[in-house]
Structures are given as structure tokens and as C-alpha cells.
Symmetry: D2
Subunit: 367 residues, 4 copies
């Protein structure tokens, strides 16, 4: 008799989550099966639930960033160093797969995060194709999916505390090209914003300021090394916030600003906080939350600004971010960034909590 496992299925935008039974998967040649330990509940899941992403093949099993234990492999499963990953190992995996390595974007533009063949667990995978999302008792690792053992000293909840914000924040900081001694402003204190604080500090920022909310996240930002924080709940006027940054940067604005807020209005506001010839990274606009008004003369041309969109992340970002976490976990205590844990059957509640409280910028995990 076939073993059955349970998964939480999002059948469509706005529909209640359903618990469904699936046949336990077995590993395809070159693949593996994980027993799920924890799966992130992130802002993307809320967007998925609201139907704000295009091309999602509902029904889906959400959960793109995950930790599990290797139950079964079919043939050698290797890490990026070529070492075999044994059954029983605690692992995560790079949620992006299917990047073709053959198309113009991959080969000529070397813009792999824009490869049209790219797929993502828990987002662009249908529940009809199997257990390809983390809100399930098992996760099927397809052949070619890159598995990363958790480094020594990193437990699943440490990793979940970083969540998808870990490699996303890492990528944003890489893209920002922070120079030793730069003053950096982070807009947004959600998972991406807080990881950006961490990596901005690790990349050589002298001073880091955070503009966000709520208080608890700003307290976390301070603990992670932010010199000062601005609570947008308290200073609700954009001009005042701009003045707050300029007052801390000799009137010039910051060298680097990373927008990780999810709010389109942050973009023109952030450009006013930027010094001439500064660098501005936009990593918080993963869904279309609306248009903004910009002034090309003042915000771009005269400012000699460099504005850098930052989409997705690559294996290298996850790999290196995880190594950095292993090295610096005692200092940054990623686990404490997780706001709450839910059991798998309470996934709907997890999602709801985010929605009700209106602060999707928290990191949660289901397990």
C-alpha cells in the first residue's frame, strides 16, 4: 500500500487553503526526497494568495525556501564542492531551477535570473506536478535542483530566520557595490531589509540607517548594527524623513540606499535621500504595487544617480549567504528574526496573521 503524506494547497487566489493527501514521492534518478522540517511563510505567499503574481499555475503548494532532512536519493547527490550528500543530512536547496543555460539571457546577457525557463519551487510549480513546495510533509527534489547541506552549527530555525530575505538581501548588497566607509540607508525593515542591514555592515558600510516599521523590527535593526532608525509610523511625512536622512549625512544624502520596502512611494522618497553620484538599489518591488511620480532631471540626471533593479538571486548568493550565516550567527542571531512558528495545519492562520496585521515584512516558518 502506497504511503501518503499531507500538503497544504493554495487552489487559487483568494481561496481558502486546503489540506490534501499526496502519494509519498520517490526520488527520480539524480533527484531526492526530503522530509520537511520547516518552510518559510513570506510576503510572496501573501502575494500568491492575493493573486498578485502572474503565471502562477494554481493549485500550488506554497513554500519556496525550506529546510529538510534527506530521506532518499536516487544516485549520487552532490553539493557544489562535489561531496556526496548522505541520507539523513539536514539541507536546504536553491528554490530556483530549470534555468536553461542555453538561451540568450543565460549565455549572452548572463542574466540568469531573467531566463524565461526559470522556475521556482512553491511559486511557479503546480501541485499537479508533485510535492514541489515546502508546505508539505515531503518535498521532492527534482534532478538538477541544487541541494546545500546546512553548515555545521546552523540549525533549521537559524536558516528559517534568514529565509528568502537572506539571499535576496545578499544580492541587493552585492548589486549596491558598497565601498568601505559608505553610509547606507535601508528602506524597509522586513526580512529583506534586515538581511540587507546585516550584509551592508559585513560589506564595509560605516553607518547604516533604517527607515521602516514596526518598532520591533526597528529594534532588531539596531541590534544588527543600524546606527539609527526612523519609524515611519511616527514620522509619517515624507519631507521629514528626507530631512532626517540629510541631517545625518552632512546634508548630502547617503552614498547607497537599498529600497526593500514593498511600497512604490519609497522610490521617489529614497532618491531624495541619495547623495549626488550615489547608488540606489530597488529590491522591494517584487509585485506591481503601483506607479510613482519621478522627476528625471532632479532624481536621475542632475543627481548623476545609479539606480539598480535587483531581481531574484542566483545559487552563488544563497551559497555564500549561508556560509556567512554560519560564520556570523553568534553575532547576528538570525533565528531571532523569525516572528512566529506555525504547525503545517495552521498555514492558513500564518498567512492570515500576515494579512491582518498588515506587516507582511515578517519571517515565519511552518513546520
Amino acid at each position: 500500500m502506497m504511503e501518503e503524506v499531507e500538503a497544504v494547497v493554495m487552489t487559487g487566489p483568494g481561496c481558502a487553503l486546503e489540506r490534501r493527501a499526496f502519494s509519498a514521492p520517490s526520488a527520480k534518478p539524480g533527484g531526492a526526497v526530503l522530509e520537511t522540517i520547516a518552510s518559510e511563510v513570506c510576503g510572496t505567499d501573501v502575494h500568491l494568495h492575493h493573486g498578485r503574481l502572474s503565471g502562477v499555475p494554481y493549485p500550488i503548494i506554497p513554500g519556496h525556501v525550506n529546510c529538510g532532512r534527506v530521506l532518499e536519493t536516487n544516485g549520487l547527490l552532490l553539493d557544489v564542492e562535489g561531496r556526496p550528500i548522505e541520507t539523513g543530512t539536514l539541507v536546504t536547496f536553491f528554490d530556483v531551477f530549470g534555468t536553461c543555460g542555453n538561451c540568450w539571457h543565460c549565455l549572452v546577457a548572463k542574466a540568469a535570473t531573467r531566463c524565461p525557463h526559470r522556475r521556482v519551487y512553491g511559486i511557479t510549480t503546480s501541485a499537479e506536478d508533485g510535492l514541489l513546495g515546502g508546505w508539505a510533509q515531503r518535498i521532492e527534489i527534482l534532478p538538477g535542483v541544487r541541494v546545500l547541506p546546512l553548515p555545521e552549527g546552523i540549525e533549521p530555525l537559524d536558516f528559517m530566520g534568514g529565509g528568502c530575505g537572506l539571499p535576496t538581501g545578499f544580492h541587493a548588497v552585492e548589486r549596491a557595490g558598497i565601498a568601505l566607509g559608505d553610509t547606507v540607508v535601508i528602506q524597509g525593515s522586513g526580512p529583506v531589509g534586515l538581511n540587507a542591514v546585516i550584509f551592508a555592515r559585513l560589506a564595509g558600510a560605516l553607518r547604516v540607517f533604517v527607515v521602516g516599521a514596526p518598532k520591533a523590527r526597528l529594534e532588531a535593526a539596531k541590534r544588527l548594527g543600524a546606527e539609527d532608525v526612523l519609524d515611519i509610523g511616527e514620522i509619517s511625512n515624507s519631507a521629514d524623513r528626507i530631512a532626517w536622512v540629510r541631517g545625518r549625512t552632512a546634508g548630502r544624502g547617503a552614498d547607497v540606499i537599498i529600497e526593500a520596502s514593498g511600497n512604490p512611494a519609497a522610490v521617489p522618497e529614497g532618491l531624495e535621500m541619495l547623495r549626488d553620484a550615489g547608488r540606489y538599489v530597488v529590491v522591494g518591488q517584487y509585485t506591481d504595487a503601483g506607479d510613482v511620480i519621478l522627476n528625471p532631471h532632479r532624481h536621475i540626471n542632475r543627481r548623476h544617480a545609479t539606480i539598480l533593479g535587483c531581481w531574484g538571486y542566483e545559487f552563488t548568493h544563497l551559497h555564500r549567504a549561508l556560509q556567512m550565516m554560519a560564520y556570523h550567527n553568534a553575532r547576528f542571531r538570525w533565528r531571532d528574526l523569525m516572528t512566529r512558528e506555525y504547525r503545517l495545519e495552521d498555514a492558513g492562520q500564518a498567512l492570515l496573521a500576515r494579512i491582518i496585521h498588515g506587516h507582511p515584512a515578517e519571517t515565519r516558518a511552518c513546520r
Copy 2:
């Protein structure tokens, strides 16, 4: 008895130009005096006349890019190679001076074009301080102003055909970081746009497309190496223009786009013409011509775009652009880009012609 020379003075925004007599200047120690041969009439002069630039110390003598003959020096006048410049030499000079080399922008940010002490002949110099603009029979070269002899084979009108668009276009192309084989779109066919066509071709672009007007400028663009041109007078719908570019770029958009149009609406339109992970330079918004609506998700974040404001130019841009002109003049015939010559006393008419015809994107010279 003191010699007198004539200059054209712009006394204020909207005021008719006046011809005034000035005492002939003599060279300060380390400085020089030029006999003016030609002075550009460019879009900035029209903006000056409309009062669209802030901080202009009217009355001014317009004319920031100029050619002249060295009448007099006071001490050794050296070129950048350290060679003396003799009386009688045909020269131009770097119109920007006063960049302090001592402030935070100069020393720490290395953003010299944003030095607050930076001044520009014919724009931020008052007629009360002397003959510091080209619409005059003589030009005073202040100590520290960098003088460049015209290279062998380059005559004043060749140089005027390039005008301020020469170093501006050069800088924009440098900032774009064109890679060998890139497909480039230039928005705008004025002096900056056409020089951007030239330097994009010289920097390794495979294909260059120009979106602009009027016909004569687009014909010039083709002569300079544009593969195809779009006349915005004929295709007046933005969506059609975007489709035109995408149709020529495998549906992906261009690798690099340089906005040199002066029209803020070109910015959102250009971002729709850009491929994922492409580079977009904004060099056409030298005055505040208004706001635009952008979508941070679609135009920046998901596109993984790099958007680069480009302000002013540095000595190196003028120096190298002039050397490139000397080498490639037979191929590009800069002189033919000049639309008309005026006598000094007809400067008002030159300005008017631009204004009336509504195509400020032409290069003219007064002499």
C-alpha cells in the same frame, strides 16, 4: 586709449539680447585672452533665455563652448601634456572651471561634476566679471582654465559641429559601458544624441537605432551609422515606438539605451524599450521639464535595470573626444552637423530660430 570689444549680453530671462562694449581684457598671470572665432548656440542658451536654470547671475555673456585664437598669455600656458601653447594657436577650452579639488565631492566621492564650487563659462559667470562667455569678440581665459589646442586637421567649424554635444555624448557613452556587440537605442537626434550615435559606434555597438526628429537629423543619424531611425513625427504613439524597438531586438529590447531627448516622457518609454538587465543612461534632462510616471516593479526591479544619470563632463571627456574627432573626422564629418552660422550681431536671431522652429536640438555657431 583703451581698446573696446563687443559682446552680446543676456540681461535676464525673456529680455532681448543687448550688444555692449567692454574694455578689451588683458591676461591675468597664468591666464590668457582669446580672439573669438566661433561660439556655440545650444539648447542651454535657449534654456538660459527662458530662465529655466537656477543660479544664473544675469546679466551674462552666453556661449560656453568656444573656439578662438590665443591673442595674449601672461606666463606659460601649458596643455595637458605640459607643452607650451603659443600666441596665435587655435584653441578651445574646458568651459568648466573652479572645481575645487578639495571638497568632499571632489576628494571622497570623486564626483567632480557635482562639486559645489564648479562654474561654467557662459552659464554661471556674470558679465560683470568680464568676458567669460563666447558671444563676444574676446574671451578671457582665467588662470586655471584648461586650454586645448585644436588638433592638426581640425578647424574651428569642425569643432563647433560637435559642440557641447561632443563631450556630453562621449560621457554618456562612457557611462553606458557599451560592450562589444551591444544593440543601442538613442532617444533624441539633437547634438547630444548624434554624438552619442558616433561614440556608441566607436565604442563597439553592433547596431544603433535612433528615435527622434526632424527628418534631417535622422538622415544625419543614418549617415553616422544608425541602422534604422524612427521619426517621432510619424510614429507619434508611444506603444508603437516601443513595438518598433522590440521588433528589431528579438522582442527583448535593447542592451543599452541613451536618453538624449530633453523630453521627460522619453524616460518611461525608453525603459519599456530596454531588455532585462540592460543599461539606461539619462543625459537629456538638463533642465526640469516635468515629472513622469514610472512603475518601480516593471521598469526597475523586475527588469533588473541599471539606470544611470549622467551630469556634465570632465576634462578627460573633452580631451579624448577631441582626439577622437581628429582621428575620425573624415568618417563622421562633424562640421556637417552644424545647421547654420550667424554673425555675432545676429545672436538674437540664432536664439530665436531655435525657439521658433521648436527644434532646439540643433547646433549653431555665432562668429
Copy 3:
């Protein structure tokens, strides 16, 4: 009855080439078979014959850069734009294959040309594995090998005139980061050197000088745009050659130097020709031809030099170089760079000619 085709086999270092009959290959799923039109005889083939490369699985069928006509496909064969390549199409292919896309070099360092799984047609492929080199009547295209149709207007001999020097020179110029207006010296006038002249000009070099031999190659360099050339047969003293370059560069040395000579002694000599803070690319040392003496103080540290090794090439280099060839063939006439054609049965003679004349830096094709 099985069809037979002929190939030229290099059985080991120093052994005479052998003509052997092979069974005509048939396309594997996802692969193809080409009817060979031409195959390059390049310096690497001479090195292979001398046994100067390690890890070569003799016996081999030489010929890594090739042109052919598609005889047979097995399933859809797509170009990088996703367009099907029909039987009968004239094509070349990226000789490098097997790059794994999964190892640390591919994923983390993004140094694909150093992937340990990388293989090359005609160099690291054994004749026992099939027709995986161009000195044969047929070439088997393995699944995953990237095929490029020759662009319209490019005939096989145009492409062979470029040979492997085309993407190698392209890569070297990309690595050099030539800025608009740079003065460039190319050391070596073989296929890589001459293609480097072409791409240096296309990438914005103001002045290009070539130091090489023999006369015919230097004449070609001049035709391709070199301002001046130095014949090392005539100026055999290193100090004189350094003085020659310095005399043409205001005593400072060149902004960029590309070493494509194959002679280790070119490296210290070239570093003496380099200006302070210049960039020096080493692309001519594909085999170990010996050690050199350098002075770390003078050549590197005080010079603030940037020295860039350049190994192999990637698909993007071949793809873009081929597009540039299609655009600029009338100007550069690559075909004329080919020194001689041989029939397949005269391959040994082709090899010998190179060896005897001692100028391996020529491009030949067998067909």
C-alpha cells in the same frame, strides 16, 4: 552497408598524421552531424603535435574551430535565439562543451572557462569517441553542443579567416576594458593579435600599435587599422622596442597592452611599454613556453598595473564576434587573413608548413 568517411588522426606527439576510415556517424537525440567544409589549422594543433599540452587523449582528430553543413539532426536543433536550425544550413559550433554548470567554478566563481569538466573538440576529445574534431569529412555534434548558423553574408572561408583567433581576440579585448580614446599596443601579429587589432579598434581605441612579425602580418595589421607597426625581425633589441612604444606615447607607455605573442619574454617587455595604472592582458601564453624574470616593484607595484590573464572563451564571445564579423566584414575582410588552404589529405603538410617556417601565428584551413 555502412557508409565510411575519412579523418586525419594524430596518434601521438611527434607521430606522423594518419588517414583513417570511420563509420559515418548518425545524430544522437538532441545532436546533429555536419558535413565538414573547412577546419582551422592553428597554433594549438602544432602544440598538440609537439605534445606540449597536458591531458590530451591521443589518438585525436584535430580541428577545433570548424564550418560545416548540417547533414542530419535528431530532434530540434535550436540556435541561441530559439530558432530551429534546418538541415542544409551552414554553421559553426562552439568547440567547448561539457562545462557543467554545477560546480564551484561555474556557479560560485562564475569562471566557466576554468570548469574542470570543460572539454574541447579536436583537443580533449579522443578519436575513439567518434568524429569530434574537424580534420574529418564529417563532424558529430553531441547533444548540448551549441551550434551557430553563419550569419547572412558570411561564407565559410570568411569565418575560417577569423578562426579561433576571432573569439580569443574578442575575449582579450573585452578583458582589457578598453576605454574610448585609449592607446593600445598589441604584441604579436598572429591570428589572435590581428583579431585583437580589429576588436581594439571596434572597442574605441584611438591608436593601435602592433609589435610582431613577419612583414606580411604587419602589413595586414596596418590594413586593419594599426597606426604603426614594429617588425621584431628588424628591431631585435628589447630596449629599442620599448623606446619605440614610449616614443609614440609621450614617454608614458600605452594605456592598454594585449600580449598575443606566444613568447614569454614578451611579458616583461610589454610591462615596460605600459603606462602607470595601465592594463596588461596576457592571452598569448596558452602553453608553457618557459619562465620569465619580472621585477615586482617596477613592473607591478609602482606601476599600479592591472595584469589580466585571459583563458579560453565563452559562447557569448563567439556569438558576438560572429555578429561583429557579419557587420564589419567589408571593412576588415577576415578571409584575407587566411594564409593558405590545404586539402584534408595534406593536413600533415599544413602542420609542417607552420613548423618549418617557424611562424605558427598564421591561420590556415583544411578542407
Copy 4:
């Protein structure tokens, strides 16, 4: 009656230091006079004493990196933010001056550390021109010399603990372009090497290894964040040292290596410790200590190496390094890197100590 002050004069290579009386200087317009608090004794001073630098205008007053108290100004003395520096302020100053801002190196190449007009206090300034070195009771600040107030919390001996190694190490790390998560090897544990350890850690290195001597300096390296150190006194065989690094880097070698050893032989050894496509900075070869043997094929071309000479430092490096010191002084305790203090009259002994012990890689201060 004229006030007299004392200075230590190095009259020529190999000559004993002399104590001489000088008239107390007064500030020139735009300049200032400092009362010396401390002056570094660094490796350069030993080289000066040995006559290993060219162009030194003996007799000189050594001491290029200094701290003092402003005794007198003549007109406003401003810091880089434009704030006045009052009499009595504790300051250091950028020892490099005279960079012309007008020559080809300054304006076109933007290679200011190679400006031929560049002068350095205590090295290229003659004692006949005044108190232009720190081994004196007073230091004259010439007009145009950039003065930096010590940040709050930084005392003169903290700054002296960094010494010239502070901005030099900062510059080397900037030039290395360390990416988040890189593994870095520092060759040399002198002042430059130890500051490079600090800044490599601050710039995002995951792991830092140090190859140097003696034990005390290696202990310091560990305290500053080196994961492991190799004592060249114990492992004296180059092959063993290379194996030591490769054994800690998956056999591949390090991503980045900074040579700060002063020993030419470190260069070929370091290149063997470098991974393919890695970056190698040479900052330890400030004098010509001899030639080395390199293999262009193995060390440069096939390795696809990037080798970066690093000469001098700019104002921005000193300015930002000082800000980083102020922020991170509790963590790194620069003061503890100083090995010993001497009174001014014992300067000869300070110099001798270095020479006798054969470890010039220590930081001392005279005061």
C-alpha cells in the same frame, strides 16, 4: 629673539641621524603649524636610511605619518566637510601634497598617485625647505595640505598604531575588490598586512589567512580576525606554504590574495596560492628588492588571474580609513599594533631596532 625647535635630520644614506635646531616656523597664508605629538617610524624610514629610494632630497626630516596639535593657522583651515579647524585641535594630515590636478595623469588617466608633481612629507621634502617631516617638534603645514581632525574617541596613539599601514591597507583592500564571502590570504604581517586583515574582514571576507612572521604579529593577526596563520619561520618551504593554503581552500586556492610582505619571492609563491580567476594585489613592493621568476602560462594566462599593483594612497583612503578606525576601534584596538615608543632624541635607536631585529614590519612612533 627667534624661537628654536629641534628636529632629527637624516643627512644621507647610511649617515647617523643628527639633531638640529631650526627656527620655529610660522604659518604661511592658508597653511598652519603643528606641535608634533607623534610620528611614525615605518619601513620606508629604514629604506630611506639605506638609500633604497630614488629622488630623495637629503638632508631630510623623516616622518611622513604624524599627529599633532594645531598651534597656529594663517587664515581659515578647513576640513574636507568645509568645517573650520581651530587652534588646539588634534589632527593628522594627508602626507601627500603637490598633486597637480592639471597633468595627464591627474586629469586623463585619473591616476593621481602617479602624478609626477606629487610630493610626500618626510620622504621627498628637503630639510632645507623647512620642517616638512614628523621627526621634529613642529611640523609646517603648507597651504593646500589636507588636514584631518582626529575623530572623537581617537587618540594620537590609536592613530599611530594604524600608521601609514592604515590607508595603505585600506587602498589595497579597495583595489582587491573583495566580494562578500571571499576567502582572502594576506602575505605579510607587518603594518600593511595587519591593516589589510582588518579591512578585508570589514569588506566582507568570509575567511582570512595570514602568512607571515614573527609570532607576535601572527598572534595580532588572529586577534584581528584571521582564521589561521602560517609562521614562515616554521614552514620555510614554499611548496609547503602553498599546500597549506590549498589545503584550506578545497585545493583551489584563495579568491583574493594581498601581498604585503616586502619580499619579491612572495609574488610567485602567492600566485600559486591563488584560485583560477582570482585577484592578486601587490602592495608590498615599495622598493626594488629584486627580481623574481614567473611563469606567464601557469601564473597568469591559464589561471585567468587578475594581478593588481597598488601604489600609494589618496586622500579618500586616509579619510575613510580614519572614520572606520573611529567606528571600530574597540573591536580592533589599533593602538596595540604599535610595538614601541621612542623619544624624539632616540629616533636613531628606533631605526636601529628595526634594522637589527630584521623585522621592519613593525609600527613605532617617535614623540
